[in-house]
Amino acid sequence: MVIYGVALLAFCFISGLFLGELLGRLIGIEANLGGVGIAMLLLIGLSAYLKKKILLPPITEKGITFWSAIYIPIVVAMAAKQNVFSALDAGGVALVSGFLAVFISFLLIPFLTKVGKK
């Protein structure tokens, strides 16, 4: 059933956020440390295990792949609710820092990709 896939996804999501929050508290910061990443790893691991046991029929998979496909619409909605006005209205420091940080980071991508090759 489709709900099994959605529920599996929800289980991974909640567990991941919980572990991320715990990890953050452990090292004393007030932020979730990698909760979404942990949830992703959980989903990868659990779904591979269930597939091996033939417990993940295509209809269950649909409960996960639907959310994966609805990702772009969600991102478009996210863009529409950004505080673009105050970002552009901000002082020079904010504009220049944001711009330079992004630009330099882009330039570093090819360099770091090469580092990883060695």
Binding site: A10, F13, I29, E30, A31, N32, G34, G35, V36, G37, A39, M40, L41, L43, I44, S47, I64, F66, W67, S68, Y71, I72, P73, I74, V75, V76, A77, M78, A79, A80, K81, Q82, N83, V84, F85, S86, A87, L88, A90, G91, V93, A94, V96, S97, G98, F99, L100, A101, V102, I104, S105, F106, L107, L108, I109, P110, L112, T113, V115, G116
Partner: protein
């Protein structure tokens, strides 16, 4: 009662459903433009994100609120659909079917890119702050932290006791970064080799802004999203860890 008023109240009452309709129309129109104007070369999703950002600008201009288009009542559902809960839930879903050997292969350089990303953004923000005449190490650190992400700024500012104007400025720096990543990624991707899982992980680690990375990669190739998101998800945490501690001490020392 006039039919327009009835429609209005239905749209407002069912905000999230209205949001599905609005997003569907934006995406349809964007793919139409992509096909007609650029022959499909410039991704429909990239155009959709840019249109949404422009709409968000007008939303903020008209209402003076903080949630872009979602501050206009009939579009308020966009704030829920585009909020962190659904965004993160969908990001986790994209991990389904990820190639784990790719993840492992790029793991180390991914971690390296995280540290470089946080420190670099912080340094840029801090240097700019002092060039713009800020003298107090707390102010400089908070603005640097905001350049990391708009979450790290206020967390750091609160920890160090920065003034609310400085916090607002640091949030703005993070916003500029995040929005710029959304817009610039599809334009820059071909020039920096952002077309494979490994460079996507590096990209996620360097940029770190969850919304920027999520939207940027969606507009390049949705298959790359989970790789970028995987590293980006550790970025804010790492920033909150480094900025008010090691990086603040460093700024105070340099000063």
């Amino acid at each position: 009662m006039n039919p327009l008023e009835i429609m209005d109240s239905i749209l407002i009452k069912n905000g999230i459903i209205t949001a599905f309709l609005v997003v569907g129309i934006i995406i349809w129109f964007s793919y139409f433009l992509s096909e007609k104007l650029t022959n499909g070369k410039f991704h429909g999703s990239a155009i959709a994100i840019i249109i949404s950002l422009i709409l968000a600008y007008f939303g903020g201009y008209l209402t003076g609120g903080e949630k872009g288009l979602a501050d206009i009542e009939i579009f308020s559902g966009l704030a829920i659909l585009g909020g962190a809960m659904f965004r993160d839930f969908a990001i986790v879903a994209t991990a389904y079917g990820v190639n784990t050997s790719e993840l492992r292969r790029a793991g180390k350089v991914g971690v390296l890119s995280l540290f470089i990303g946080v420190i670099l953004s912080f340094a840029v923000g801090a240097i700019m702050a002092s060039l713009f005449g800020y003298k107090d190490p707390v102010d400089i650190t908070t603005i640097g932290a905001g350049t990391v992400t708009f979450l790290v700024g206020p967390v750091t500012g609160t920890a160090l006791g920065a003034s609310s104007e400085i916090m607002a400025l640091s949030i703005a720096a993070g916003l500029v970064k995040s929005i710029l990543v959304m817009v610039a990624t599809p334009l820059m991707a071909p020039y920096v080799g952002l077309n494979n899982p490994k460079s996507a992980m590096i990209f996620g680690g360097l940029m770190g802004t969850n919304s920027g990375v999520a939207a940027g990669l969606a507009a390049v190739d949705p298959k790359l999203v989970p790789y970028g998101a995987m590293t980006a998800t550790f970025y804010t945490g790492l920033g909150c860890l480094l900025a008010p501690s090691v990086l603040f001490l460093l700024i105070r020392f340099v000063h």
